[in-house]
Amino acid sequence: MKKINIITGHYGSGKTNIAVNMAVELAKQGKKTAIVDLDIVNPYFRSADFEELFSGCGVELVKPLYANTNLDIPAISFDLERIANDDGYVIIDVGGDDDGAVALGRYAGFLSLFGDDLDFFYVVNKFRYLKGEEDEALGLLWKIEAASRLRATKIINNSNLGRETTPQDVLSSIGFAEKIAKESGLPLEFSTAPREIACPLLDGKVKYVDIYVKPVWDE
């Protein structure tokens, strides 16, 4: 994995869940890891919600000082440059769509300095598009790149239907993701599937992920 990992995508594509999985996985390998909640466009279902999980496994959570408090406003109160210059891995969970990517654009010049030591992931979920067509996902990729003033480097296919996701849903989405990869000229890093639906059909084709982002009635 690269030192800097930026996670972007359509809101609801599952960025936060991917970011949390990456952070926990790195921490389990004993790697120094920081996760940065750069989602300042949406107050619900964000990395900052997982404080307990991160402190339990030694991931440093970097979030706006007043995230989830009375003073939660769209402002960044931490020094991303200092954090990125520290040792260890950095995962940046960006807000959804091009709206959310604007905050990332603030750091475009600085982040570009990392060159090959940076991955900019674009997360796609086929089921987030009414027609399930690639054009919409590609259009959004370009908008996110424009807003963040950075280039994406890899595609992550996180196609899912929440708790109803079946192995067939995941398999049917791989072609969709491959087409986006082909048309954007970016490699498909991996496709994901929730660990609870692991089966021989999916083994070797997907990266299993744990579902951290879920509603309270699934506690």
Binding site: G12, Y44, L130, K131, E133, P215, V216, W217, E219
Partner: protein, 353 residues
């Protein structure tokens, strides 16, 4: 290609469902946690041939809805708690003018500016006093993203049928959560609106849309006529889901997102050998009194759970004429009750039998 199932955020699904239900006028003003609804409308409404307009205020937005509805267009506005309070005057005018429309309230904590996390503290406002004067609006309470889709189209149809405003009373959790949905094929046709002020073309007399009646007897008559209509609404439109209530000794009454949490607790209670059930009102006005009475026929006690200090609990007591003890568990200010907390309460009440 069209996918059978999509993963959508509640707020987006409300907007998409409205466009599919024939809504062609959307007037809004941003507020968390419903802003994605307006944002979705801004992107999609023009493509559907309708009008999206971000008004200068909530008050302006609801009056634009009044104008569009008066001309016979299916119109909608959406907001969250403090914004809905601002719309109250316009909603009363629409009720007094017998105009159909749909109002979305993605509730957040109150009073005042309150917070931005989910709440159900606008129940009284929606069902009792959505503005000044003698009137009611239809109030639907979805508990999933799919039900939001289904209820938006139902709300438009029913609002047209009875010529009255309808509200979808959601909350921040439902608005922000992602769930799979299917958009059903719906009939494109809408009822004729011979009352609409949409140009008489020299072929009929003027239609006048108005809520001002200066003669007391005339105003009283118009209110009486409206209340006769409300009696029909009560008979025909109340709706609820009963879950494991046939043999239930304790019935949990909850609506919206809270009902999802409560269902989880009811399942755990059953697993622990407690005969618990759930009554989930799908309409809050009219309140499903008969369904509640039936669900509680074998119950010794009722537990009402809300994200408020206790508002629907009044309707539960009224429907049961205080014939059974009605307990209450509430969280407020943006705090969502946990299944374990509800289970604990069920056990406590069960133990007191």
């Amino acid at each position: 290609m069209v996918l059978e199932r999509n993963l959508m955020k509640g707020n987006e699904a409300l907007a998409e469902a409205a466009i599919r239900a024939g809504c062609r006028g959307f007037f809004g003003y941003p507020i968390t946690p419903q802003t994605e609804l307006s944002a979705y409308m801004a992107k999609k409404m023009a493509k559907a041939g309708g009008v999206f307009l971000q008004a200068e205020s909530e008050i302006a937005a609801i009056n634009m809805v009044l104008g569009a509805a008066a001309s016979g267009v299916r119109a909608m506005t959406s907001s969250s708690s403090p914004g809905v309070s601002l719309k109250a005057e316009g909603i009363s005018y629409m009720a007094g003018s017998d105009l159909p429309c749909v109002i979305i309230n993605v509730q957040r904590g109150g009073p005042g500016l309150g917070g931005i996390q989910p709440s159900q503290a606008d129940y009284w406002q929606a069902t009792r006093a959505m503005g000044h004067g003698d009137f009611h609006i239809l109030v639907y309470a979805p508990c999933s993203v799919q039900e939001m889709v289904d209820m938006v189209s139902k709300a438009f149809d029913t609002a047209d049928k009875y010529r009255m405003p309808a509200m979808i009373l959601a909350d921040g959790l439902l608005g922000q959560m992602m769930e799979p949905v299917t958009f059903p094929e719906i009939k494109a046709e809408q009822p004729e609106k011979p009352w609409a002020a949409n140009g008489h073309g020299g072929k009929r007399s003027h239609n006048i849309i108005n809520s001002l009646y200066l003669k007391p007897e005339v105003l009283q008559k118009s209110v009486w006529e409206r209340f006769e209509r409300y009696e029909r609404v009560k008979k025909e439109e109340s709706d609820a889901e009963s879950y494991l209530t046939d043999d239930a000794e304790i019935v949990v009454a909850a609506y919206g997102a809270t009902a999802r949490v409560a269902k989880s607790a009811v399942n755990s209670a059953r697993a622990a050998g407690i005969k618990a059930g759930l009554l989930r009102p799908k309409t809050l006005w009219p309140f499903p009194e008969e369904q509640l009475k039936k669900a509680c026929k074998n119950a010794d006690a009722v537990l009402c759970v809300e994200m408020s200090m206790g508002q629907m609990v009044d309707d539960v007591k009224l429907a049961l004429s205080c014939s059974k003890p009605v307990h209450f568990l509430g969280r407020t200010g943006g705090v969502v009750p946990k299944p374990s907390e509800i289970l604990e309460e069920i056990k406590k009440i069960g133990g007191a039998r």
